[in-house]
Structure formats: structure tokens, C-alpha cells
Amino acid sequence: MPKPIIQIKNLCKNFSIKQASLLGPKQVLKAVKNVSLDVKKGEIFGIIGESGCGKSTLARTIVGIYKADSGTVKLNENSIENIISKELNRTIQYVFQDPLGSLNPRKTIRQNLQTPLHLLLGLNSHQINQKLTEMMEAVGLPLRTMYQYPHEISGGQAQRIGIARALLAGSQILVLDEPVSALDVSVQAQILELLINLKDKFSLTYIFISHDLAVIEAFCNRVAVMYYGEIAEVLPATKLYSQSLHPYTNLLARTAPRLDNEIHTEFQIELPDPLKPPLGCAFAPRCSNVGERCKEFSPELRLLKENSYVACHYPTKQ
């Protein structure tokens, strides 16, 4: 069995909230709580959850945009704290949710794209030209796009540029943060297809973040479901719809719209206040399977079935 390319152990990331007044109590938002994950080489690992569940914070901590408060992230067995930042950037890259926002509006696409080649790989201008030409072809854009400014291109094109920028650093791992959420479905499918082709061509590993169950199911190998900063369940993507063990995953699958399903309802949907975490399981107030222990003890992530990890005292029986 191959060694995992990414190992995340007990990762925590907090944000301190600006105090209302000088003398007010200091408030801490625990965005990511005690997350542990392994990602294998060549895998497409999905992370799914609703807004505010901490999936983006987790992703940004993995690539080093945020610094973890505790816990470790290891890439190829090296902790990212020990990797110098340029080496880290050559190993793992990030694709932003808002494709236009990640490009400097005052620079041409070419100027935006050549930075990693110049600074991370130290190429000369001839090599840069060659690399850029190859990459534009790989992401399916005409060469003239390079001489346009970000405001002159469409969302789909901008996302191709975002992916190109990440790949130009030469990294083997891409963290894709909702790369298709801002796009129309017809363009979304184009980008997903492109990502599959690029993965085969450059033998990449993906961490793919999304709130869309259908996209995750179709695109990923394994999925981690996040709720309230924690991992609720890790399972193969094929089990997402009908064989999940955590009541929250069940709920997501039930409520996801399908062409043939009836309108479904669940009424207790208010999420707990992120600044005042409840004592036990965060999902307990909404859970249909709730028991005594849920209100006092927070469940740990454990291996329940083959390839399925779940953090629940009373998982759904399959």
C-alpha cells in the first residue's frame, strides 16, 4: 500500500475575533478543530460541507496561506513547517474559488502567469515563453489570451488561467477550493473534464473542495464530510448517496435536489453559534438519531467499515 502523500494530524486553526470594545472578552472562532486526514498519491480527495464548516480554512492551512495553531501537515513525510516556502510552493498549489479575484487586475494574464516560473523555478525568458505556450495549450486557451487583462476574459477562461498558474509552479498536488462553484453548469463540466485530463497528463493529486454533492460524487475517489469545523465522516465517493453512515451525510444526500425526487423537509436547521460551541456532538440538535451520549461527549472519528470512518456515537445502520 502506497504511503500517503499528504498526512494531516490533529490540525487546528483558530481566528481571533476583533473585540467589540477594549475591555470586552477576547473571542476565538475555532474554524478547524482537530482534523486528521490521509490523502494517497494520485487520488482525488473531496471535502464537502455547507458554508462556514471550515473547509476553505482547512484547504488554506494545508497550502500554507494560513498558519496552523496546532497539529501537523506532512507532505511526502515532511512537515510543512520544515519545508522552506518556495519548496512548499513547488510541491503544493492552490486554485481559488473566485477565478478573477486571484488575478492582479492591473497585469496582463502573461504577467500574472510568469511570476511562479521566474521566482519559483528560476527560468530564463526563453524557457518561460516555451512553458507558457505549452501550458496555454494544456488548459485549452488560445495564446492571445495571454496578452489580455483579467477583466477582458470570462469566468470559465479565468478558472483555466487559475489552474494554469497553479500547475506552472510544477507542483504535484493541487488544492482546488470550489473551483467550479462560480461557473455555469455547461462551463463547470468543461473545467471538470479539463481537470481529469490534466491529472492524467501530469500525474497529479487533487484535494477538491465543494458544497455540491453531485459534483463531488461524480469527480472524487474519496470524500471527507465536514460539519462545524470537524470531520464527520470519510468514505468512498460512490457510497455518498446511499451508503453513508453519519446522519449528517444522510441528510445532505436526502436534501440534495434530483430530477426525480420529491421536495424534502427538515426543520431544525439553525447551526450552533460558532463562537459558543455546544458541549457534545455539534450535529446533535439537528440529528434524527440522537441519543444520550451525544449531548455530553463529542464523538471521535473511527474506522467503522472498510474505508469508512465516521465520527458518530450512533451511526446509521446500512
Binding site: 467589540a20 470594545s21 475591555l23
Partner: protein, 315 residues
């Protein structure tokens, strides 16, 4: 909400301390020896040393600050050398005149400015908008002291509508009508610049707000347009107009210095210019501190009104 107000009032203490510190540092930078300045260049060294001790000037700077500060807190702003009376007495006497002038100007400029801004925005690119824009442009470009002089020339000298200077008539005046008569020209001259700035920013704020989603919601609800403009758009714009009013109060207080000179209004501004020219440092220092402190307190009031306007900062 009371809790917020309490903390907000508490938070002026460091600002006021910072204020006194800056004034103290600036004033202690003054070249030359105050004692020599007071006694004149023929003073004997013994006399200078004695006065220095009297004034506490022989102590280290740090200690002097605290002595000075504790005096301030007890209302002792020192003694004016040129007028030979306590600074605080002179300031209190003159401040009411400044307050009447700038208060009137402030009310005028806020009212006219916001009204002009709203009309201008709702009739964007129409005749009213163009006229207002032009007036505003002239208003913010003309020096208030020049405007004041021209007003004297036209309304006082030529038309003889208003008296050219002073706060009350020398003989037989002193009542409210007399004050009003003297007040109108300087107050208008003072208000015009600030009204221009307020009108301009109100117009911009209104135009921005009129594009927001909740305005469309209000229209979709069938709210009559007049109510959309006032209850929805202006109400929301006030959140960004109000801090501008706070800033403009500072500009009105500043402009009052020029206007007081031009119209010979017996206020603090004129007092300070005279004090600077007479090198009466104690008086300048007292005037700066007093007016600045009033301005800080005024801004607290603005903040509290803001709180009342905007429920989002309440929680």
C-alpha cells in the same frame, strides 16, 4: 446599547490624553526660554531662574507634563501674558461667540447640504442637479475669507442689509434680533464650503444606495417612490453621511477662524491668531486644547447618533 455608550465615553480618555500630550510636546518644542520671553531681554539671570522655578520649568519634561495635566484637570489653563488674566476666563468668554457662529453654520450646512445632495441624486443629470453641482463647485472652491469680504462689500456696504462686522451693535443693540442680524452673513459664509462638501458626498452616497438590492425590494413591494427615497435610501445613506457631518464640524470650527477675523466676531479663533502674533503661548495652548476637547466630545455624540441609526453596530 448603554454599555456601548459607556465604553465609547471611556474610550475618549486615551484620545484626550493623546491630545494633551501632543499639545504639550509641541509647546515644549518652542525655541527660547519662556521666562526670558516674559521678562524681556533685560532680565537678570536671578529673575529668570526665579520665574522658571515659579513656573516649574526647572523640573524634567516628564514631570512637568503631569504637573501641567493635573492643573488642567483642575481647570487651570495657566495665565495669558498678553492679556494678564487666566486663560480659562478669556476662553470661556469667547467660546460662546464661536459656538453661536459655528453652531448656526453647522446646522445650516448639514440641512442645506443633505437636502441639496438628495435632490441632486434623485434628479441626476436634470436641471436641478446641474444647478446644484455648479453651486457646490463654486462653494468648495471659493476661499471662505474672500467670500466673506465680498459679502460685506455687497450686502453690508452696498445694499446695507446687514451690519458689516461685530456680534452686537455698539449702541442700543444686544437683543436677539440684533444678534441674528449680525449672525446671518458670517454664518452663511461659513456654512457654504461645508454645505458643498456635504451635498457632494450625500449625492454620491444616495446614488450608490439607490442601486442596492433592498431598494429594488422596496419597489417590488409597491412602496411609493417618495417613501423609497426617504425611508429606504436616505435612511441608509445617513449611515455614511453622519461621519462626514462629524468631520465637517471640524471644518466649520476651522473656517470660523477666518470668518471671525473677516467679520470681527469676538470668538476663540480671532483670539488665537492674535495670541500667536503676540507669542502668547499659554493662550494658544489653552485655546487649542479647549476647542479640540469640545470637538472630541461632539464626535462622541455623532457616534451615539450613529448607534441609534444603525442596529448592526449595536450588537
Amino acid at each position: 446599547m448603554p454599555r456601548y455608550i459607556f465604553f465609547r465615553i471611556l474610550s475618549i480618555i486615551p484620545v484626550l490624553l493623546g491630545l494633551t500630550l501632543i499639545v504639550f510636546i509641541i509647546m515644549s518644542l518652542i525655541p527660547g526660554d519662556p521666562a526670558t520671553a516674559i521678562l524681556g531681554s533685560y532680565a537678570t539671570p536671578e529673575n529668570v531662574a526665579r520665574l522658571n522655578q515659579q513656573l516649574g520649568l526647572d523640573k524634567p519634561l516628564f514631570q512637568r507634563y503631569f504637573i501641567w495635566l493635573s492643573n488642567l484637570i483642575q481647570g487651570d489653563f495657566g495665565r495669558s501674558m498678553s492679556l494678564n488674566r487666566p486663560v480659562i476666563d478669556e476662553i470661556l468668554e469667547r467660546f460662546s461667540a464661536t459656538l453661536i457662529l459655528s453652531g448656526t453654520a453647522f446646522v445650516l450646512c448639514s440641512f442645506i447640504g443633505i437636502l441639496a445632495g438628495v435632490i441632486s441624486a434623485t434628479r441626476q443629470y436634470g436641471l436641478a442637479d446641474k444647478l446644484i453641482t455648479l453651486t457646490v463647485l463654486i462653494g468648495i472652491s471659493i476661499p471662505s475669507f474672500f467670500l466673506g469680504m465680498m459679502m460685506i462689500l455687497y450686502f453690508a456696504v452696498r445694499l446695507r442689509w446687514f451690519p458689516a462686522s461685530g456680534m452686537y451693535a455698539l449702541y442700543g443693540g444686544g437683543d436677539f434680533i440684533d444678534l441674528l442680524n449680525h449672525l446671518i452673513m458670517p454664518a452663511v459664509a461659513l456654512a457654504i464650503v461645508a454645505a458643498g462638501v456635504i451635498a457632494r458626498l450625500s449625492r454620491a452616497a444616495m446614488l450608490e444606495v439607490l442601486r442596492l438590492d433592498f431598494i429594488r425590494t422596496a419597489r417590488a413591494k409597491g412602496v411609493p417612490e417618495k417613501r423609497v427615497i426617504i425611508r429606504h435610501a436616505l435612511r441608509y445613506s445617513m449611515v455614511s453621511i453622519l461621519p462626514i457631518l462629524g468631520l465637517q464640524a471640524g471644518f466649520v470650527l476651522s473656517g470660523a477662524v477666518y470668518i471671525e477675523i473677516v467679520f470681527q466676531w469676538p470668538g476663540v479663533g480671532r483670539m488665537m491668531v492674535d495670541a500667536i502674533l503676540a507669542r502668547d503661548i499659554m493662550l494658544v495652548q489653552g485655546g487649542v486644547l479647549f476647542v479640540a476637547a469640545c470637538y472630541v466630545i461632539f464626535n462622541i455624540i455623532v457616534d451615539v447618533v450613529q448607534l441609534w441609526l444603525d442596529p448592526r453596530i449595536r450588537s
